[in-house]
């Protein structure tokens, strides 16, 4: 068996490189060992064929190209970010502050003894500026701290090989749809990535846009088009007025250059790049790998040459792991055969401390009675809830009954009153009358609602008033003066005047109100009314 030949290894160690005795040929297993298959398998699939699309649509595949080796370059995000960081500085233009700014005074310090700070002050007189502080960064109109100089080190040099590695990584990343999606491009409808066209035949922008839309780039183009906004910062007044999202990058060869330019340069978000002059700032804008790239066949085919011939002496970086697919490595037969069998019933985190306040089992360990307490609490809460519910129910019932009773009383009173045939006009209140007149017949329901509310309010106030009036009447007999008083009290309130006036009527009605027990304060008033009225009998 082959595991004779090497010691046990973890899955991670296996994939990296051959070490020690394994490098010796004699210690290696036969060339067609199953170990190799892990590596060669990936090799075979890593250079697939890429379809070249024609101009008509997704179905027109005019040919196939073998994927250039660049796309196997290790995707080293760290290198890309470092290189991008530094290269981005190279486009900067020097700026600085006027060297004399804030220093064009003959200011001198007044020194001590003048009850002022020792900062230099502007000399002279006759102007507000005199005796004001000057020169310091803390002073108004003073020079800034460390005035910006133009001889700052604006540009950065990056090693050529590093730049090339970064470029290769960025190109490789454009072929990974997950990364392109993660960068934010809308490529769900794009048939294939990398997207390669045989050539650019469109000469007009709208034709080219039509072509892109056929290939599923509509949402991407829309995204860029809609994102155009005026810059939020000062750049808007420094010739950088608009900001746009970055859209597709069209990489062309020399022969396509002219057409590509005329057709594609005006599309918002779309950038152009010649394959022989590729720029990391376009391939990984913002240091973020995975731009959506559209290739022409010429450019795609030229990639191999670009990275080997044109970039003289360049060799691709070797990956840290040739096969980075951890899943397949760990689950491969070779690895699984070596591993010891899994421990049965292996429990992890057995001795982990559990918080008894959050974990019920942990609490039970400490206090065995704890679950009981919780149960009891729950039961008590349930009982409290029930009690509240029943109390509320009875209260509601009584309230309803009370209202009903009041209604009956008033109805009885109304009936016993002689003149008004219209029940509405019992209200003497002018406010209510006008309101009634204003409302149209369509809103009768709302009228009724308002009336009811009015009644409710009126009832409460009426009860209060009735109490007062009842006590008054206990002293006085039926007097027209009493009527006048009540009329005065009526002003601005919705009342039932007939309670005061027509107490004699009350005696005629057969309303028994002694048995009701309303728990509200209204009860007191009503009972007072009832008592007093009863007395009148």
């Amino acid at each position: 068996f082959f595991f004779f030949f090497f010691k046990q290894k973890t899955a991670y160690e296996i994939a990296q490189r051959l070490v020690g005795s394994e490098m010796c040929i004699r210690d290696r297993v036969s060339t067609q060992s199953t170990w190799d298959s892990i590596f060669t398998q990936e090799e075979m699939t890593t250079r697939p064929l890429v379809s070249v699309f024609g101009q008509e649509g997704v179905d027109t595949i005019t040919g196939q190209v073998k994927m250039p080796k660049v796309f196997q370059a290790p995707i080293r995000l760290d290198i890309v970010q470092f290189v991008h960081d530094n290269i981005a500085r190279n486009k900067r233009q020097p700026h600085g502050v006027y060297e004399k700014a804030g220093m064009q005074h003959s200011a001198e310090s007044w020194h001590t003894g003048r009850a002022v700070a020792r900062v230099p002050r502007v000399g002279g007189s006759g102007t507000r500026r005199s005796s004001q502080a000057a020169f310091g960064n803390m002073c108004r109109k003073g020079r800034m701290f460390a005035p910006l100089k133009i001889w700052r080190r604006w540009h950065r040099k990056v090693n050529v090989t590093q730049k090339r590695h970064a470029l290769a990584a960025a190109v490789a990343a454009t072929a990974v749809p997950a990364l392109v999606m993660a960068r934010g491009h809308r490529i769900m409808d794009v048939p294939e990535i990398p997207l390669v066209f045989d050539k650019i035949s469109a000469e007009k922008t709208k034709d080219f846009i039509g072509l892109l839309k056929k290939f599923g780039a509509k949402s991407e183009l829309d995204r860029c088009h809609e994102s155009k906004k005026i810059r939020a910062t000062k750049g808007k007044m420094r010739n950088r007025r608009y900001v746009l999202r970055k859209g597709p990058l069209l990489i062309h060869g020399d022969s396509d250059q002219k057409k590509a330019l005329t057709a594609a340069r005006n599309i918002p978000g779309l950038d152009l790049m010649n394959v022989h002059r590729m720029n990391l700032l376009n391939l990984a804008p913002g240091g973020h790998i995975g731009r959506f790239v559209i290739w022409t066949k010429e450019a795609f085919a030229a990639l191999d040459k670009v990275f080997t011939v044109e970039k003289t002496g360049y060799t691709y970086a070797s990956p840290v792991m040739t096969n980075a697919d951890l899943g397949s490595i760990i689950n491969s037969d070779q690895v699984q055969k070596i591993l010891r069998p899994a421990k049965p019933n292996h429990k992890t985190h057995v001795n982990q401390k559990k918080n008894p306040l959050k974990n019920k089992a942990a609490m039970k360990k400490l206090n065995p009675f704890a679950p009981e307490i919780v149960k009891m609490e729950k039961a008590a809460e349930e009982e409290r809830k029930k009690a509240r519910a029943t109390a509320a129910k009875t209260h509601r019932g009584l309230k309803k009954a009370g209202k009903k009773w009041m209604k009956a009383v008033l109805a009885g009173l109304v009936e016993s009153m002689v003149p008004p045939p219209k029940a509405k006009e019992i209200y003497d209140d002018e406010e209510v009358k006008s309101v009634h007149e204003e409302m149209s017949e369509q809103e009768e329901e709302e009228k009724k609602e308002e009336k009811e509310e009015g009644k409710d309010e009126g009832k409460k106030e009426a009860k209060k008033e009735a109490k007062k009036e009842a006590t008054k009447e206990a002293k006085k007999e039926e007097k027209k003066a009493g009527k006048e008083e009540t009329k005065k009290e009526k002003k601005g309130k919705k009342q039932f005047p007939f309670i005061a006036q027509s107490h004699s009527y009350i005696t005629n009605t057969a309303v028994s109100y002694t048995h009701l027990t309303l728990p509200t304060s209204d009860l007191v008033q009503i009972s007072v009314v009832a008592v007093s009225l009863k007395k009148k009998k």
């Binding site: 699939t45 890593t46 697939p48 064929l49 890429v50 379809s51 595949i61 196939q64 994927m67 796309f71 196997q72 995707i75 995000l77 007044w110 003894g113 003048r114 009850a115 002022v116 490789a172 990343a173 072929a175 990974v176 749809p177 997950a178 990364l179 999606m181 993660a182 960068r183 934010g184 490529i187 769900m188 794009v190 048939p191 294939e192 990535i193 973020h288 790998i289 096969n323 980075a324 697919d325 951890l326 899943g327 609602e449 509310e453």
Partner: protein, 193 residues
């Protein structure tokens, strides 16, 4: 090609799908293929060969029926189904392989489809079903919202007039007490020459 492990390593630091909020401890994901909307290696959709995505669109139906939820299932495969249809010798190497299943019949159909696809991603089967249930309850809430609710609320407001507490904002401004300029205080001492 980049393996899933590598893709996760590259995107775990930053991607357009990542949503970080200071208030919440966890990082969320807006990845369409993410079933739990959490940003971690297990749930991530783009960094997996096979992934499922479930989403709901509220489509406006009749006025009577109101909004109708349309479930959509996204399937990300290793290889595109249409590759079979491609004519030899041109076989596609397609990396963007998403099929979209819009389901007309609603929740039950969606649940059935997911049920059949259990072995597609057995580790996320439970999450897929959970997601459907969650989306369903959301869509129910949305369909339940009708216009007459406003009137009911108005009625309730009328019946229960509440005493709104008016909070007057009182503020002290110490700065207002200070004047723009400060007195010298003492005597002016003329500079002796």
């Amino acid at each position: 090609m980049a393996s899933n492990a590598l893709i996760w390593e590259l995107t775990k630091g930053y991607s357009t799908f990542m949503v970080k909020k200071k208030e919440c401890g966890t990082t969320f994901s807006t990845d369409p293929f993410n079933l739990t909307n959490k940003y971690n290696a297990k749930s991530t959709g783009i960094a997996h060969e096979r992934a499922l995505g479930v989403s709901v669109d509220m489509k406006v139906g009749n006025k009577k029926k109101g909004q109708k939820p349309v479930f959509k299932i996204l399937i990300k495969r290793k290889k595109h189904i249409l590759a079979k249809k491609a004519k030899a010798p041109f076989k596609r190497n397609l990396n963007t392989f998403t099929t979209v299943l819009p389901l007309k019949k609603g929740v039950t159909q969606a649940a059935k489809v997911i049920g059949k696809m259990k072995m597609f991603r057995p580790d996320l089967h439970h999450d897929a079903l959970r997601r459907i249930a969650a989306l369903h309850s959301v869509s129910l809430r949305k369909t339940a919202i009708k216009k007459p609710e406003k009137k009911v609320e108005e009625k309730k407001a009328k019946q229960n007039p509440q005493i709104t507490s008016c909070t007057c904002l009182l503020y002290t401004s110490d700065a207002a007490d200070e004047r723009s300029s400060v007195d010298l205080g003492g005597r002016r001492i003329i500079k002796k020459k």
